[in-house]
Symmetry: C2
Subunit: 262 residues, 2 copies
DNA sequence: CTTGCCCACTCGTCTATACGAGTATGCCTG
DNA sequence: CAGGCATACTCGTATAGACGAGTGGGCAAG
């Protein structure tokens, strides 16, 4: 058992009323913050910390679980505990649905990913008619059934976003919108062709911890929240023509809005 | 020891390869989702679950820690583990800095809170000159020192938001902006009086788990992320005149933006 | 009746141990 | 040299026990 380089981590303060596992977590956190452990680097193993601090293994694990909850580290079975690398974030500008972008005919996700030099991917595409949830129904103006378009977005193989678009059947049924691939410019281009000139969008943003299903779909590490965005698109007649429910891995995104100061 | 009402929770599946503590967490989570345990209600105690499932106490605690990480429950020392109540959320509309609101002369936070029937409060006010961080300096256009205005917002005694505004000294020094109370309409009204007619705002939004300091300041329960919002205000000359760095308890907020579809 | 104490119940912290399962490495065998 | 196996290391899961500390109810003393 190689012992820990001395000086890397301090000692415990037995007189402190701060719990031992918190003291250990504090020291590890500080070492990470100071850059003593860099992104992706392996922390000392549980056994090494047990030796260093003279505590039991569960106490060390307790410390690790604190740091995991903060999203600072992640454990890999059989390998060790590592400082969680911060993946490059995708910036979503508020003009990403501007007509001028749509007219170029490419999906925003693909264009932006290519510009950033990463490999975009869309999978688990599902398009079907279904019963509208109470919330979706309220947003679309009391529709009973909707067309749902589900898809998952990946960057360089990593799932980063899961989105579902809901559209009223009287708008979408029998149109290219109901096809798996709606064609150039996406469903917003099709909506405009169908006479629903888009007027404005409303976006609602929440942040919360993911459900187990979301952890699975987005392969989220522990301590990573999700951003939950609900966008409603309104046409020039003031009708809500689409609701898009998006769940994003919070460590992969920065949302950016530009607001007039009128 | 009163035994658990049968039927409330199921049994373990010994053949499953799902860890026991996950199975228990699953059952509790499902019971909460189905409304068998309501908001604020007490879950069975650790001892009761130990009896019911025939497992050790640490296994039960492990289950609870899963649910805590998901933000579903919170433990109170000496009392029990409770379904975390969802506090009423504050909705922030994208026009909350519109000039017409400012002209009414009241702070947005106070007005909105009163409208919602809750008791607003602002504390730990601090106004001082300091060195600009690298990030703030870059956003304000390479200023070295700034005026920082720090304050914490509370609703009905609960801290929900912690914000710092940074302004270039050549704009703010010696003006009412450098006073603890900048007067009616807040610092944006003062900026306009000083000839900096506001043109637009840029807002950047991130979500992440809180640092220990943020947990303390916002009295956050475990499993509650924060929304980190950085707003930059630009005047008509295109100059960045203020950067506002805000950390919000994610369970207290829904951000709402309205975007034109131009 | 009020005060104060005790006790039962709650979760918090910590130890010690055991076995399982994933990973990496090096050696041994073919 | 290549493949496969043994082994040592990693974290994951689970048990059993101990003591501490916060909470609240009931009982007893004043």
């Amino acid at each position: 058992m190689p012992s820990l380089p001395s000086g890397l981590l301090g000692d415990l303060d037995p007189t402190s009323d701060r719990a031992v596992f918190r003291q250990i977590a504090d020291q590890l956190r500080e070492a990470i913050d100071r850059g003593r452990f860099k992104e992706g680097e392996k922390l000392p193993s549980e056994a090494e910390l047990v030796d260093h601090y003279g505590v039991s293994r569960m106490t060390v694990r307790n410390s690790f679980s604190v740091l995991q909850g903060e999203g600072l580290v992640h454990a890999e079975h059989g390998k060790g505990v590592f400082v969680r690398p911060r993946p490059p974030v995708r910036r979503l500008a508020s003009d990403r649905f501007a007509r001028r972008h749509r007219e170029q005919g490419k999906a925003a996700f693909i264009v932006e990913a290519n510009a950033a030099g990463s490999h975009p991917q869309v999978d688990s595409l599902e398009v079907k008619e279904e019963k509208a949830s109470q919330d979706v129904s309220a947003r679309l103006g009391s529709v009973r059934r909707v067309l749902a378009r589900r898809r998952r977005y990946l960057l360089d193989g990593r799932p980063v976003e899961f989105a579902t678009s809901y559209l009223p059947l009287d708008i979408a049924r029998g149109t290219p919108i109901a096809e798996p691939n709606p064609g150039p410019g996406g469903i917003y281009a099709r909506l405009e062709e169908l006479g629903h000139r888009l007027d404005h969008f409303e976006e609602e943003i929440r942040a919360r911890m993911p459900s187990p299903a979301e952890v699975k779909t987005l392969r989220l590490a522990s301590g990573v929240p999700v951003i939950h965005l609900i966008r409603t698109a309104f046409d020039a007649a003031g009708r809500a023509v689409e609701v898009c429910d998006t769940v994003m891995a919070a460590d992969a995104y920065v949302l950016s809005y530009q607001l007039p100061a009128t």
